[in-house]
Symmetry: C4
Amino acid sequence: MRPDSVRYRAAGRLAQVVVRRAFAEFVGTGLLVTVVIGSGIMAARLSPSDVGLELVENATATAAGLAVIILLVGPVSGAHLNPVVSLVDWALRGRRGGRDLAAYVAAQVTGGIGGAILANLMFALPPITISHHERTGGHLWLGEVVATAGLVALVFALARSGRAHLGPAAIGAYIGAAYWFTSSTSFANPAVTIARTLSDTFTGIKPSSAPMFVLMQLVGAGIAYGLIRLLYPDRVLADR
Amino acid sequence: MRPDSVRYRAAGRLAQVVVRRAFAEFVGTGLLVTVVIGSGIMAARLSPSDVGLELVENATATAAGLAVIILLVGPVSGAHLNPVVSLVDWALRGRRGGRDLAAYVAAQVTGGIGGAILANLMFALPPITISHHERTGGHLWLGEVVATAGLVALVFALARSGRAHLGPAAIGAYIGAAYWFTSSTSFANPAVTIARTLSDTFTGIKPSSAPMFVLMQLVGAGIAYGLIRLLYPDRVLADR
Amino acid sequence: MRPDSVRYRAAGRLAQVVVRRAFAEFVGTGLLVTVVIGSGIMAARLSPSDVGLELVENATATAAGLAVIILLVGPVSGAHLNPVVSLVDWALRGRRGGRDLAAYVAAQVTGGIGGAILANLMFALPPITISHHERTGGHLWLGEVVATAGLVALVFALARSGRAHLGPAAIGAYIGAAYWFTSSTSFANPAVTIARTLSDTFTGIKPSSAPMFVLMQLVGAGIAYGLIRLLYPDRVLADR
Amino acid sequence: MRPDSVRYRAAGRLAQVVVRRAFAEFVGTGLLVTVVIGSGIMAARLSPSDVGLELVENATATAAGLAVIILLVGPVSGAHLNPVVSLVDWALRGRRGGRDLAAYVAAQVTGGIGGAILANLMFALPPITISHHERTGGHLWLGEVVATAGLVALVFALARSGRAHLGPAAIGAYIGAAYWFTSSTSFANPAVTIARTLSDTFTGIKPSSAPMFVLMQLVGAGIAYGLIRLLYPDRVLADR
């Protein structure tokens, strides 16, 4: 039987770990939004005559930055950086740990907002400017479904086949490609979508366009859940 | 002696595995075509003034997307995603498993068609539009021979030297380069060639140009088969 | 008891090792500056009509070149190539080895100066030309804080989690992204900042702008130190 | 005592292996030249209005293609693909195996010529056209010295520290960067230099400019030899 002092200390240590993991999600999602919005502002300022070149610049920086951020916080929190990733993780783990899920999502959303403010300030803009960039229409919504389904399926295909160490490069590469092959330029992340309403710049999204984007992201996550159950029915295959 | 019920169950499980593998080829080839056509549409819309920049955008997205798709379905089906890869695999394995080959090719071709439709819909186009992009002439055909020979030789050089885990990055990089160093921009895949007749956009190919492309891809695959037999005469060398 | 001759020889060997490590830092930092300044000159000459494209060229070459330089000298010196990395390394190791720190910083600064001269000469410019490129203002300083904090946090997140072998690719990718997502284009290195005052070309910085950049890099390094203590309180986690 | 028939068979097998290795160098160097010249032609045709963008396209395709070619033939021949790499390899191995060195260099030079012809034909040009692109001057020669020294030092830094498996990605990245940070766009390879005299296109070099380029490459290789002896005095350090 452990004396009370040990039990209290263990509980304190556990709480500390949960706080540290949520803090890692806060920092990681914040940096991700800073990368997305910051590189978007830089691209629009430096390459004003070709929107495609702006997207090259924005996509390349995001792909490399995302890979690096996953490396930065991965060992601490798993680097979800995305509420739908946390949600599907929770579902695939048998829906246990709802409080952890809530802590992760809260950290991701607040981190994302912080990241938008940091990006705006770095480029001498007011801390928050509401985006006027309308993004609406069935084809864009289909784009978000595809973008999110692919992202979430990739994350858990790697996890379920013992290849999580490939996550940073693979997920960075995926987003770099998805900026181009989806019509919506692949938001694929509710926390990032909310944060991107707060910068009236290249990567912004009008608040009225955000709810449908988030809804479509949830639909895409549901499709990914089904795909993973079909393609990787077992928890973990052998590492290749 | 196993009772009948066990034998039936084992057969059912095997069938399930074959279906799952074909389904993985269907999903993977579909996504590949979505990436190729989708990023081509995006590139042509956003960078209308420089065809080279459009090809940069299309090639980079395809390279990254292909690598990721191989990661996504590789552990399930081996991620052939290409009838000539399946064909050479079958030949190098001593021409056994003809039914699996047929299932793979059927999944690849139908998946590719599905991917073309999805790409068209994501960009608010009719589900199918027949391409008017004529691609014909001896130098382009030579380009397809070179592109396919290099691709197939690479795939089996990796497999035969215990380096299959490098396939995703290597094959993505190969296609990203081959878009540029071959005159035909490296179709190198009969299923993708067929699918690309169904989108009258940047990456399309006129149906009348497709048969010679497919024929040249088969010639290239034959050359790759010979190269592999010369360079890697043994099934598997030591892993480096 | 070891005879004196052995002790002298051991001391000689140690000195030789310290010299070799400092020499590696000299060569590595020199090459890094050559890559940064050289590719900047090439970019400005070949793409005069789009500053964004120039930064694409400069950032891509720097990212790839930095990764390779870390591979080149990493096993010898650890490839700090940056006084603030050496400084935080010293702090995290309990502030022992001040003489090694001094040798590293001296090698980095002199190497950087050598690299600037080499770049100028390769492009048929005088060995040294003082930059007139003013880089000043609170938002740029914030950019340097963010850039350096991210860089240093990444370096030690990898080191403290048994993933130092990912350093070359990760740090290259980080700098490639940070050129875009920070307003200052991410100098993030006092030795490189000093060297960049010596080339009046694309990547130059006016000497009067340099001190505040270096100060902000120190602030960023301090933030990274705190982040690492919070996220990776233990010296080394298990390798993933 | 082995009977004669066994000895004869063993000698035959050895000869076969030497032929196979030389054949791998022939194929690999040929493909490398095809990638360099082919992507240069494509770039010049598709992006006629910005030389920098042409070099982006050429450099990216070369970097990715080179990495892949090293993977393709590496397990067979070591993928030198470059006479100065073979030369320094011979010097660092104690100058034994002069006949192997000669076979490698012959295979590289003839392979390179074959690759130039293939590239020309793929783009509907005569098999051989002599380049009129003059590349001369002290700053370009200095560029070649730096480019070759860096390349050769990298190759043997990896080999001597048990990291040869990083060669494909590292050497590809190096060349991709060196196209930009050296004034000569980094030929760094006598076989490729000779081959590039045979295509009057973007990446060509006038025959009269080639000898000084080759001489400077030898100088660079000598510097690399010295650097390796200083930084990596032992044959093989521990794998990291």
